[in-house]
Symmetry: C2
Subunit: 212 residues, 2 copies
DNA sequence: TTATATTTGTGAACAGTTTCACAAAAGAAA
DNA sequence: TTTCTTTTGTGAAACTGTTCACAAATATAA
């Protein structure tokens, strides 16, 4: 029972998120067990991959039968930290920021957008889905006082690093960045970038190199 | 000079996008050459990685000096297909869809949102940044007639597969999906998923497993 | 021109990830 | 019970991606 002994790869974490979704769906269908074979098929993976991924966290399958849906889902939630609420602050209420403020999936998965910031006087004080937009000048103090766990940066590229530095100074250890720029963060801060242009560029490359 | 002989990995493509951005910035600063060492430093990579990545596409550096900024940037643009316009259709004008419709970076990189679709009668016919929203029932015929290269799916999870099937039937070979669902596509269609919840889950995992 | 310093390009070593293959465990059927 | 089938869990093998290390090429300085 290797309870998180070895280093878990990013790809494994990613697949864990995917398994979690499949298991949630199975739970709704009242399925009680699922085999690695079937779980793999749903997401175009291999059964061996599924078993290897799960084995990093222990062995909760039953040979000859498969994995218990509810138990496995709970275990993944526990591993990923999905059985609790996370306080999220959103910085920047432009195109993308306001879309994210309204995005319902976040709340469903326990990501609670608690604070919203902007630097535009016309936006500060306005009500965004029940949350009053705060002045970005209070960013650092408020992420501390409101116990924010995760910050989403959705400001223009030019101001993203300044925002980043502020929240890091406020002790934030996890950032999701939508600005098309490479942010510099200390080693103990986890940063993930969501760059839509780069995604389109992957597609462009694929189309451009079809006949090689 | 191995002009695309070997298989290029997804990670190499990703870094190519990153180099491209760095080179664009360097060009603005009127730098004429850059070494793999400096290019690596800008993006927290290793010089060897930069050289290996570039070597897949030929050898355009000068020993003792580095790479010519303008030439290398053009070459990457050529490889990635960034020196042309791509016709993009956006399906779904909800939170995320309308944010994407207004996102200026796309046009800057040659991704031209030419068509926008929705199934909501209140939205169809309305003007979104100069583009009239079309009825999604015309999706298949219009992606063909307007020579669409790439489709962005930003509809609710429940209707995403139907939209996907339509555009695939219309001959589309590249899809960027924002719906939180695993779409099924034929092998010759490139699909990329942008799932913001999964990104937050990566961060949650990291925070949850800090002290292992 | 010659010597010294840089920096590329790349095969080889290394590291990490995925797949294979099979013993072991449990269920299902006879 | 006994036999047969299914399916897990996991070392080992295969594969993929990254880093090392150094010859070769060029620039720069003397």
């Amino acid at each position: 029972m290797p309870a998180q002994l070895k280093k878990i790869s990013e790809s494994t974490i990613h697949r864990l998120s995917i398994y979690y979704r499949a298991l949630a769906a199975l739970e709704k269908e009242n399925r009680t067990t699922i085999s690695s074979k079937e779980l793999a098929k749903r997401d175009k993976l291999t059964p061996a991959q599924v078993r290897k991924d799960l084995s990093f966290f222990g062995s909760f399958g039953t040979r000859g039968l498969g994995y218990p849906v509810v138990e496995l889902r709970n275990r993944i939630a526990e591993i990923m930290g999905l059985n609790r609420l996370w306080n999220v602050a959103l910085v920047g209420v432009g195109n993308i920021g306001s879309a994210l403020a309204q995005y319902k999936e976040f709340a469903k998965q326990g990501f609670n957008i608690k604070l919203i910031f902007d630097n535009d006087l016309r936006k500060i004080g306005s009500n965004h889905k029940g949350i009053i937009v705060s002045d970005v000048r209070n960013l650092k103090s408020m992420v501390v006082s409101e116990n924010i766990d995760i910050v989403i940066i959705a400001v223009p590229a030019a101001s993203a690093q300044a925002v980043c530095d502020e929240v890091v100074a406020g002790g934030i250890k996890a950032i999701l960045n939508f600005a098309p720029i490479n942010l510099k963060v200390p080693d103990d801060v986890v940063l993930r970038n969501q760059n839509m242009c780069i995604e389109l560029e992957h597609l462009a490359f694929a189309l451009n190199n079809k006949n090689r």
